[in-house]
């Protein structure tokens, strides 16, 4: 790991000020992603601003019925928080499907948003990677790409510049819940809907998100709609535990009194550079009852335009089947809530 200077401010303005003054400075929260990337020499900041002493460790109820999650609350404390478990069990379930207990005890909500892709070539500095080194090429495109994207990879040229996926489980649930990211920066505060927080690679694969230099995430707001009766997070992976998703599906449904679907949200993980949604596909479900043929149509629509690159082509059909299954589970309000994720059911 390169050497770097280190500071530990205790208020948000000081942290934002420091990061803007220093060249090549980075925030560090839990450190569970950044330090690995520094050990592998993928990231080499000259200065680290440790934000663990900022007062961002709160979970507060919002007046309109939502919940504000402080950026420094750990993933574990978030997933096990009484109000998250009661009102946003989809979020708990997604967080607990990721990483391991020790990592969730350290990883923060803010850091989770920024975790970088698990593309093997991105980590291997001996290979070409447009995300790590813009213009060098994409090792995955012609190499081994089992874990790579099948949606949203287009660039202005004929071939994609980057086919990496965003690896987070938590962010897939946040996308389904229409969370809002709160940010403080050199030019003041702003909010970013989660849909606009992560971005597609296009011609700038080095940019994972739309955050501006010097900006700090202070909190994530969950809107008042809870989706705490008909939901599921289905994660499919190569090993039944401790692995990133090949494909994951977060489903949140609101049913009317007659049992018809009044509102449907479906977010996909592991398939694109950001958690993926398609409003047209979700709209197919409005006013309808459960029906496997309909669910399959929804899945076809969600995967519209999907493209495989060889090793990952299987993910197109895998994603479709996962969507049908997740819709079935969520609609049935099945037992998954108490038993976070039953791998036997999935495999």
């Amino acid at each position: 790991m390169n050497s770097f200077s280190y500071s530990r401010p205790d208020d948000v303005n000081a942290a934002v000020g420091e990061i803007s003054e220093q060249t090549q400075a980075k925030f560090i929260a839990g450190g569970t992603n950044l330090l690995d990337l520094m050990k592998e020499n993928v990231e080499h900041p000259q200065h680290l601003v440790d934000i663990n002493h900022l007062p961002l460790g709160f979970i507060d109820e919002l007046p309109e019925g939502g919940l504000r999650l402080g950026a420094l609350v750990t993933n574990a404390d978030t997933a096990y928080h009484e109000l998250v478990q009661k009102n946003y069990p989809l979020l708990s379930m997604a967080i607990l499907a990721g990483a391991s207990p020790q990592l969730r005890n350290m990883a923060t909500n803010g850091g989770n948003l920024f975790q970088r892709t698990r593309c093997y070539y991105f980590y291997d500095t001996a290979t070409a990677c447009n995300k790590r080194e813009p213009g060098s090429g994409c090792g995955a495109l012609t190499g081994y790409n089992r874990i790579h994207a099948i949606l949203g990879t287009a660039s202005s040229g004929n071939t994609p510049q980057c086919i990496a996926t965003h690896p987070s489980d938590m962010c897939v649930a946040l996308r389904a819940l229409d969370a809002v990211v709160r940010v403080s920066g050199p030019n003041g505060d702003r909010t970013i809907p989660i849909a606009d927080f992560h971005r597609l690679p296009g011609d700038e694969p080095e940019r994972d998100n739309t955050i501006e230099p010097g900006e700090l995430v202070t909190a994530i707001d969950l809107p008042a709609e809870h989706f705490n009766t008909h939901y599921t997070y289905l994660k499919l992976r190569d090993r039944a535990s401790y692995a990133f998703a090949l494909v994951s599906v977060a489903v949140a449904l609101r049913l009317d009194e007659g049992g018809q679907i009044a509102e449907a949200r479906i977010a996909l993980g592991g398939v694109a550079h950001k958690p993926w949604r398609n409003p047209a596909a979700e709209a197919l479900l409005t006013g309808k009852a459960a029906d496997t043929t309909l669910f399959r149509q929804v899945a076809e629509q969600l995967l519209d335009g999907a493209q495989g690159y060889g090793n990952n082509t299987f993910k197109i059909e895998l994603a479709k089947r996962a969507i049908v299954r997740a819709l079935d589970m969520a609609y049935a309000g099945s037992t998954q809530a108490g038993d976070a994720y039953k791998q036997e059911d999935i495999l």
Binding site: F4, T32, A340
Partner: protein, 158 residues
């Protein structure tokens, strides 16, 4: 360099550390507490698990500087005065180790698990250990050891 003050196994230390010193290296090299192992250095194997303010974390994936002001417990701190912790006894009784390399991390993870959930099911134990890799035992005896420790300590506050 920065100065950190940490309490490790009940004893307070104030030391100068280089920014890039990982907590696990601070524990092993500066404090000489070599019970905490380094199996991978990439946050994967769990051999380096310790308790930071009572919760299991991987000490290879944090800086020593990040631990400033914290209370840390390592495997050495589980047996103050030399009397083995119930988990240590149970690992012995159930043959929960072979080479022993993963064992400190397994026990520290299990201790946190039992403090959150004193009566875990087998499945909860297996899920709780997902961040700890053992290349010898095949895990069954580790799970049994944790079940045994849980039975023996049932109702006894940790």
């Amino acid at each position: 360099m920065s100065t950190i003050t940490v309490t490790v196994n009940g004893k307070s230390y104030t030391k100068e550390v280089e920014g890039r010193t990982l907590l696990v290296h601070f524990l092993r090299d500066t404090l000489g507490l070599t019970g905490t192992h380094v199996g991978c250095d990439t946050s994967s194997c769990g051999a380096c698990t310790i308790h930071l303010d009572g919760r299991a974390v991987k000490s290879c994936s944090m800086l020593a500087a990040q631990a400033d002001g914290s209370i840390l417990t390592t495997i050495e701190g589980l047996a103050p005065g030399g009397e083995l912790h119930p988990l240590q006894v149970a690992f012995n009784d159930e043959h929960g180790l072979q080479c022993g390399f993963c064992t400190p991390g397994m026990i520290m993870t299990a201790a946190d698990l039992l403090s959150q959930n004193p009566n875990p099911t087998e499945r909860e134990i297996r899920e709780g250990l997902e961040g700890n890799i053992c290349r010898c035992t095949g895990y069954h005896n580790i799970v049994r050891a944790i079940q045994l420790a849980a039975e023996r300590t049932a109702g006894v506050p940790a």
